[in-house]
């Protein structure tokens, strides 16, 4: 039996080398042996993408992208379709999970300098994936056609009116004079299309990754054979363990707090005549929303929001430090964590209305807090990172992955050599 399978697979592989390619890329693919758990999030992101696509396809079989029926069809999925509530909550919480995983993946890349030579294009493709994900998530949130769907879409599409010929652009996006049926129709079509574009860019991301292999917590290149281990079984099993923990958390939200990340207003059907008191985007957009609102000038605000993501494209060149890992960059390490905290504060700002005043911050208004954190966000990329590249004194790098203890390792090696001599 198995010899028959081997013969068939050999027959195929001789003509179409897909099996040996998979074997090469997944099985033998040499990987640094010192990857920590932060390296789990790349494969997790890939898995979430697949789950989102599959659950989305089944949801699309029952969903109706018409303003008259969209809200009802989602409730039809929740109440009448077998396991429909599971599919819908899986997909809905999956969006939040996807962003959590991808944000951690990006922060990991920043901490360990994974964007540096020779992985600049790998990083840029990742930022492209982030942009596509954001567009996909935004359009997906419109589909249930609740109040937040409608008003979120109205506010965000209106941002384009800040640009020259803005009103024409907005009308073109809407397919009319307001967010309406044509808008919902095209958002549905694009929400179905974009994930497949993401899959395409993910493949490029993987090709770029496999060209030079994974970075590692030490940020140094692999030098000797014992620095590497084959991807399978070592990282397949580690990824499966990580998947188990991740799926546990995801399942907790699906089954026990399915609306934790959502807004109650989105269970009210969209009504163009009633504006909700607080229009807030989904949590994963809050830091960018905060940057947008912090700047009193409309065009500048939109440019700053877009710039907050586009600055990531230039990170490989803004950072001129040759040492990759923050482990050996004492000042960068501290500033990195401050940057992370700053991102959370930006998110907090985005969730609150601008005129709120925080007495525990000495009567600072939310608007002011947003302006300070916006400046800090850009200062990290444009001032701190380039300056550190010039002036930071890095600590000595270990000789190799297998000799992580810097001088001690050398000394032991030397004494061993001396003893042998």
């Amino acid at each position: 039996m198995s010899s028959k399978v081997t013969r068939i697979s050999n027959w195929i592989d001789y003509r179409l080398p897909i099996i040996s390619m998979m074997k090469h890329e997944l099985n033998e693919y040499p990987t640094p042996k010192n990857l920590n758990y932060w390296w789990n999030f790349g494969s997790l992101a890939g898995i979430v993408l697949m789950v989102m696509i599959i659950s989305g396809i089944f949801l699309a079989m029952h969903y109706d992208p018409n303003t008259k029926n969209a809200f009802d069809s989602v409730e039809h999925i929740m109440r009448d379709v077998n396991g429909g509530w599971f599919l819908r909550y899986l997909h809905m919480n999956g969006a939040s999970m996807f962003f959590i995983v991808v944000y951690i993946h990006i922060f990991r890349g920043m901490y360990y300098g994974s964007y540096k030579y020779p992985r600049e294009l790998l990083w840029i493709l990742g930022v492209v994936i982030l942009l596509l994900m954001m567009a996909t998530a935004f359009m997906g949130y419109v589909l249930p056609w609740g109040q937040m769907s409608f008003w979120g879409a109205t506010v965000i599409t209106n941002l384009f009116s800040a640009f020259p010929f803005g009103d024409s652009i907005v009308e073109w996006l809407w397919g009319g004079y307001s967010v309406d049926n044509p808008t919902l129709n095209r958002f549905f079509a694009l929400h179905y299309l974009f994930p497949f574009l993401i899959v395409g860019v993910v493949f490029l991301h993987l090709i770029a990754l496999h060209q030079h292999g994974s970075n590692n917590p030490l940020g140094i290149d692999r030098k000797e054979p014992r620095d590497s281990i084959p991807f399978h079984p070592y990282y397949t099993v580690k990824d499966l363990f990580g998947l188990g923990i991740f799926a546990f958390i995801w399942a907790f939200f699906i089954f026990f707090a399915p609306n934790f990340f959502g807004e109650p207003d989105n269970y009210i059907e969209a009504d163009p005549l009633v504006t909700p008191p607080h229009i807030v985007p989904e949590w994963y957009f809050l830091p960018f929303y905060a940057i947008l609102r912090s700047i009193p000038h409309k065009v500048a605000g939109v440019l700053a929001m877009v710039g907050a993501i586009f600055v990531l494209f230039f990170l490989p060149w803004l950072d001129t430090c040759k040492v990759r890992s923050a482990k050996f960059r004492p000042i960068y390490k501290k500033l990195f964590w401050l940057f992370v905290v700053n991102c959370f504060v930006l998110g907090f700002v985005g969730a609150h209305s601008p005129d709120e005043v925080f007495y525990y911050l000495g009567g600072m208004s939310n608007q002011e807090l947003g302006q300070i954190t916006t400046i800090l966000y850009f200062a990290f990329f444009i001032i701190a990172v380039p300056l550190l590249g010039m002036f930071e004194k890095t600590t000595p790098l270990p000789a190799s992955i297998s000799e992580p203890v810097n001088r001690g390792g050398d000394r032991r090696k030397k004494s061993r050599q001396e003893a042998a001599a």
Binding site: M78, F241, G244, F255, W337, V341, F344, V345
Partner: protein, 255 residues
């Protein structure tokens, strides 16, 4: 670094919970120990049936529950004959018949609850311009959920604070946004008599009807939580096994 990481995580939780609660401006609601809360929570069947009775005899005059079909009342503990009898008490507009006319017939278990008004305009006309919302999703559609509904229903009759305007035809209710609500105080002592002859208090009626509405918004909740326990057990065992396999496999790697 560990310390900073902890700070980041604490901030993350703080920020997410704030984002969900929508800030500090929601007043503290009257909290209840709901039987359906928590990981193993289920709906109290007696509360469900009482709540349905309160809905039917009080709320239904103005509020529909259009997403519920009569047959789904089996979740409340009614049997097939009881559901048929309940449905038969309603008339639904169906058709057109062979002559092209719409006609009324007694509802069947497969029908949804008919709406109290022909359309939104008719509803507004009958209610002084206010639109009584459909209640099928109400407990998911309001910040605070069940606690909000309970607070609202029991929140009438308090002293109107100085400076609070209450317009003609509106009622003071501290839990409603703007504190003025068009809904007439719906629950009164003696408005409902349960089948055992008892006459519930306002608080008891509010609790029962809130339970019923929580069910109406999430009829899948009991199945969902039951499957959830199974899923979590499965994933915990899977993770543990994978952890042990990982330890075994990685023991071959020279540190």
């Amino acid at each position: 670094m560990k310390k900073l990481l902890t700070t980041a995580i604490v901030l993350a939780i703080f920020y997410v919970s704030h984002a969900i609660a929508g800030g500090d401006d929601t007043e503290t609601l009257v909290r209840q120990d709901w039987a359906f809360e928590g990981m193993t929570g289920t709906f109290d069947r007696e509360d469900l049936q009482h709540g349905f009775q309160v809905y039917k005899e009080v709320c239904a005059a103005c509020h529909g529950i259009k997403r519920i079909r009569f047959r789904e009342l089996s979740s409340l503990g009614y049997n097939e004959d009881e559901i048929k009898a309940i449905a038969a008490g309603y008339e639904v507009k169906v058709g057109p018949d062979d002559m092209g006319e719409m006609y009324d017939r007694a509802a069947r278990p497969s029908d949804a609850f008919p709406p109290p008004y022909a359309n939104d305009k008719a509803a507004r006309a009958a209610n002084n311009g206010a639109l009584p919302p459909d209640l099928s999703l109400i407990s998911k559609a309001r910040v605070g959920g069940a606690d909000y509904l309970y607070s609202l229903l029991t929140g009438y009759g308090g002293e109107v604070p100085a400076g609070q305007e209450v317009s003609e035809g509106l009622y003071y209710n501290p839990w409603f946004p703007g504190h003025q609500i068009a809904m007439v105080p719906p629950l009164q002592e003696g408005i409902v008599t349960y089948s055992d002859g008892s006459s519930p208090s306002i608080a008891e009626m509010a609790k029962a009807v809130t339970t019923f509405l929580a069910w109406a918004a999430e009829p899948e909740m009991e199945t969902r939580k039951q499957s959830g326990i199974e899923a979590l057990i499965y994933l915990a065992v899977f993770s543990l096994l994978m952890y042990l396999v990982m330890r075994q496999v990685w023991s071959r790697v020279e540190k």
